[in-house]
Amino acid sequence: MNLDAGLQAFSEESRELLQSMEDTLLQLEAKPDDDDLINGLFRAVHTVKGSAGLFGFDRVVEFAHLAESVMGRVRDHQVAVANDLPSLLLESRDHLGLLIEQALDGKPDPDEDSIRTGKALSARLQRHLSDRPAGEAQSRSIPAPTAPVLPARREAGVENRCWHISLRFGTEVLRNGMDPLSFIRYLNTAGEIVNLTTLEAMPDPAEMDAESCYLGFEIDLNSAADKEAIASVFEFVQDDCLIHILPPNSPIASYGELIEALPEENARIGEILRAGGALTESEFGTILAGWEKRLGGAGGEAESMPEPSGDAGIRPGVVEPSIVNAGADKYKKVKEHKEEENQVVRVSAAKLEDLVNLVGELVISGANTNLLARRSGGRRLADATETLAGLVENIRDTALSLRMVEIGTTFNRFRRVVREVSRELGKEIDLVISGGDTGLDKTVADKIGDPLMHLVRNALDHGIETPAERESAGKPLTETLHLNAYHDSGSIVIEICDDGRGLVREKILAKALEKQLIKENQSLTDSEIQRLIFEPGFSTAEQATNLSGRGVGMDVVLRNIAALRGRIDVESTPGEGAKISIRLPLTLAIIDGFLVQVGKSSYVIPLDLVDECVEFSEVASESYQDSQHINLRGEILPYIRLGEVFKCHTPGARDSQSQKVRENIVVTRYAGQKAGLVVDELLGEHQTVIKPLGTIFKNVKGLSGATILGSGEVAMIVDVPGLVSRVSESGCPQRTNPVNLEEVRH
C-alpha cells in the first residue's frame, strides 16, 4: 500500500501537534491547573503516538507512550504540574520531534546522542510514574478471546478432523450493528466450512421481535489455523454470544460437555452433530452411555450455561456513571472553547499559490478588457467591465486574504526562546505580545521568522541588563520584552521593544573603529551610529554567547528584510531601552499600482506609497536654484527624475522638448520621508501582479519587480523605498563614509 500520502499528512500533523504542545506547555506554566490545557496536551501526544504507530515508527511510539503516561497522570491529578515537570515535558517534546524527524527521514540507526538523550529523558519520565501500581503502565495485552476453552483430556479423540464451532448469537446482535452472516462469511478466510447447520430458536410469533436475532450455528471448519485465530473471527460478538470451539480430534468427553453446555436439548444437538459428521454414531453412543451412568442428575441437563442476556454487553459497575458524566462535562467545556478554531478547512499552500497566480492572470486580463472597453467608447460595455473590475478586485483581495496568517503564531514561538534565555542568563524577562492577530501573507510570515528570532535574541542578549545592573539603575527587576504588530499604510509593522540599556553609543563607535567600519574623528549622527550595527561583521558582544550567535547576524537580518521589500529602523534611548521596527509589505504577490509613463516605458509605483500628483511645471517655477528640490506648498521636497535614473531618454532630447512636454511629479511617502518622482505622463491606477525579476537584474537598483500590462507589455515596478533613501541621502550633508543602506539591500 502506498503510504506516501499518509506520511505527508503525518509530517504536517505532527509538526502542528508539536507546536501546539509547546504552546500549551508554556501556557501551562502560568496556569498549572487548567484542565483544558492538560487535556489538549494529552490529546496531542496521544495522537502523535497513534499516528506514528500506523507507520511502524516504534521509537516514536515508545517514547510518546511514556510521555503520554505521565501526561495521563497529570490529567488524572495524580501528578501536579510543578517543579521541573514543564521543563521535562518540553524537553520530551523536543526529543519526540527529533525522533519523528529521524523516522520521517528513514534513518534506520539513531545516532548515539539521541539515544542517550532519550534514555535520560525516559528515566526522568519514569520517575513520575514510579508510584504507579506495577504493570499498569505496561498493560498492553489484547484481551484474550473469552470463548471457553475446554480442558484437553488425554482420552482418545474423536475421528472428526475439523474444528467444531458452536455459535449462538445473542438477541442483541443485530441491534449492535453486527451481521451474523458476515462473520460466517469471514470465517471462510480462516478455513473451509465443511458443514453448517442453522438453528433457529424462534419464539412465539406474538413475542417475536423483528429486530432481535434468534440464530445459532453448528459449524465444522477444515482449517490449519490455531484456536486463537479462529476465536478472533468472533472477537466482536463474543460478549453477546455463546461460542464454543473444539479443536480437531477433541476427546469425546469434550463433545459431551459441549452438548450439555448448549441451550438446546441434548438429543437434538447430538443429532445435529452426528448428522453434520462431527461425531460418529459410536462416538455419540459413548457420550450417551456416560450420561446414563450419571442417571438422576437432573441438573446435568442443558442449563449449565445461562441464556445470553439481552444486555450482555453492559456490565453495570464497570464504569461509574458519574465518571462518564464528568468526562462528558469536561469535553463540553473543551468543545465550546475549541469551537471557533475548528471551523477551518486545510488547504495546501501550493494550491493557494496556484489560486493567487490565477487571480493574478485574471487581474491582468481584466485590466486589458477594461482598457479595450474604454477605448471602444461603448458606454454599456464600459459599465459592464467596470462592474467586472470591481468583482475582480474583490476576488483578488479575498484570494490574498486566504494566505493571510496571523503574526501571533510567529510571535508565540518566542515564548520558548525567552523562557529559555531568561533561565540561561539568569535574567527575569517578561514577554508581552500584542497585535498577534495582525495578518500578513504566509510567504512573508514564513520568511520573517528567522530574522525576528535573531532580533529577539539580540535584544535579550545585548539589550537587557542583569538583575544587578537593573537594580543599581533603579529599574524593576523583571525586564519586559514587547513584541507588537500593527498595520500601517499597506505595510505591517513589527516592533521589538525592550526596556534594557539601549544601544550604547560609545560601545558601538569603539567597535566600529576596531572593525574599521568608520574612521577616527568621523562625526556621526545617532541614527547613523545605530545603523552601524547592521554593518557586515559588526558585533559588540565581548564574548560570542551561544545565544546571539557569532556576530554574523544583523547584516543578514537587514538583507533578509530588504529581500522582503521591507525596512528596519532602530530607535534607542540610552538606559531606557531600544525599539526595532520592521516594516514589511503585506503581500508579495499583488499590489495596487500607479502606472506612469516615462519616455516610451511604463513604470508602476505602488499606490500605497503615493501621496499626491502635481504638475511639475507648476511647482517647478517656484523651485530652488538647486535642481534637486522643489517647493511644494512651502515644504522642501527632494525629487528625482525617473527618466534620468533609468536612462529612458537622453537628457538632450528631453531638454529640447522640455517646453512642450508636460511633466508631472508623483509625491511618494515612505516611512515618514517624502520624495518626488518626476515622470512624463500619469496613466492611472493599475492592479499590479508582481513578477519577480530574474537573477540578471539582481543588482539593478531602484526596481523591485516587473509586471505585465493588459496590453502584454512589461512595466517595471519602482522600488520607492530605495529611491526615497537615495533622494534623501543625496540631499543630506556630505559624509565621508556614508552608511549606505542601498549597498546592503542588494
Binding site: 500500500m1 505527508q8 495522537t47 499516528s51 503516561s69 466482536f236 460478538v237 468543545k335 469551537e339 475548528n342
Partner: protein
C-alpha cells in the same frame, strides 16, 4: 455498489492511512475530524460501517456513538472503535455505548481490513 465507511478521527494521518487502505480494498470512504463533524456527514448518507476514534475534540468517540445509536437510520450500522492499548477500559465504555467492535492502535492496514471484513464485505 461499493460499501461506504465513515472514518472519524482527529488525526489527519490516521484518516489518510485508513482511507487509503479501505479505498484500496474497494470501499468508499467518508471522513470526519470529530464526532460533531461525523454527525453532520451522516445526515442522510448511507453508511455501512463507522470507524471512530475515542479521544477527539468537540465530541469524543463515546458521545458520538451514543448519538448515532439515537438515529433511527443508523441504529443498525456497525461501529468500530479505534483504541490504543492504554485504553482497555475505553473498549468497555465503547461497548456500553453501543460500539461492539474495536481495533487496537497501532495497526497495520491488513489488521484493519480484517476487522472491517468481519463487519461488512466490500
Amino acid at each position: 455498489m461499493s460499501k461506504t465507511i465513515l472514518i472519524v478521527d482527529d488525526s489527519a494521518s490516521v484518516r489518510t492511512v485508513v482511507a487509503t487502505a479501505l479505498k484500496g480494498a474497494g470501499y468508499s470512504v467518508v471522513d470526519a475530524c470529530d464526532g460533531r463533524d461525523a454527525l453532520s456527514k451522516l445526515n442522510g448518507t448511507k453508511v455501512h460501517l463507522i470507524i471512530s476514534d475515542f479521544n477527539m475534540p468537540n465530541m469524543d468517540g463515546i458521545a458520538f456513538v451514543k448519538e448515532v445509536k439515537k438515529l433511527p437510520n443508523y441504529k443498525f450500522t456497525p461501529i468500530c472503535m479505534l483504541t490504543t492499548e492504554s485504553e482497555q477500559s475505553k473498549i468497555q465504555e465503547g461497548k456500553d455505548a453501543g460500539a461492539k467492535a474495536w481495533i487496537v492502535k497501532p495497526f497495520q492496514p491488513p489488521k484493519l481490513l480484517a476487522a472491517v471484513e468481519k463487519l461488512v464485505l466490500p
